[in-house]
Amino acid sequence: MIGMAHFLTVAAIIFAIGLYGVLTKRTIIGILMSIELMLNAVNINLITFSHFITPEALTGQVFAIFTITVAAAEVAVGLAMVFRVYHDRNTVHAARLDEMHW
């Protein structure tokens, strides 16, 4: 029988994979992708709790919609910043972007 623990386990594994990616990736785009993985893990958790703990209320699903909205805005602004940084500095490697102002 698949219960809540199974879905939460999948979400925890995906979150840990995203955490690993955020800490080890070299380019900003790779780091942004890992952040997306972590946000997806959070969404799975929200919908799992909504399904198993408050099945009538759907509050978790509404919350997940707002999370998706914020994630979309974050990706748009993040990638625009990546383009800008690439245009100005000609690199997208996070380790080389160690100045706040140039």
């Binding site: 703990i53 979309a72 800008r84 997208v92």
Partner: protein, 169 residues
Amino acid sequence: MNELAYNAAFFIFAAITVASAIGVVTKNDLVHSALLLALCFIGVSGLYVLLQADFLAAVQILIYNGAIAIVFVLGTMLTRRSARHGTNDTEKNIPSRLVAVVSGLFVVVTLGVIATTPWHYFGEGVVEDTPSLIAQFILTDYMVAMEAAAVLLLAAMIGAIVLAKGVEE
């Protein structure tokens, strides 16, 4: 029979999601990572279907696969230098083994918390018409939050255009 199919579907979607998520962080080419990210989003939307969140599964495919994954592929192609070495390497100065161990420990701790927390289940409530229920919630109880999200999206759109294109001075 029904439950067997449900279990099989869960394990298939979970395997797709986890395997492609591992691929996203281990592949050396950013384009491969972006396409695997799209596959991972499809697996997650399958999990949403199993959780009876049909509207969110559709939203997941529309927004994550149709917009975010495509924007990632575009961003990868616009900022590509050369194919000499991998475009999505792991940083050399960071001890990736140690980070992997820490991430694994995170999973272990979370599993312990999941196993020991006394959850209060509320039985199997079957919700039939999630889109109209969600619409009622968003347009009544969460009206202010919805307006704030709309303003946030507008601000993000303007900000993204200004950042990417530059301002005429």
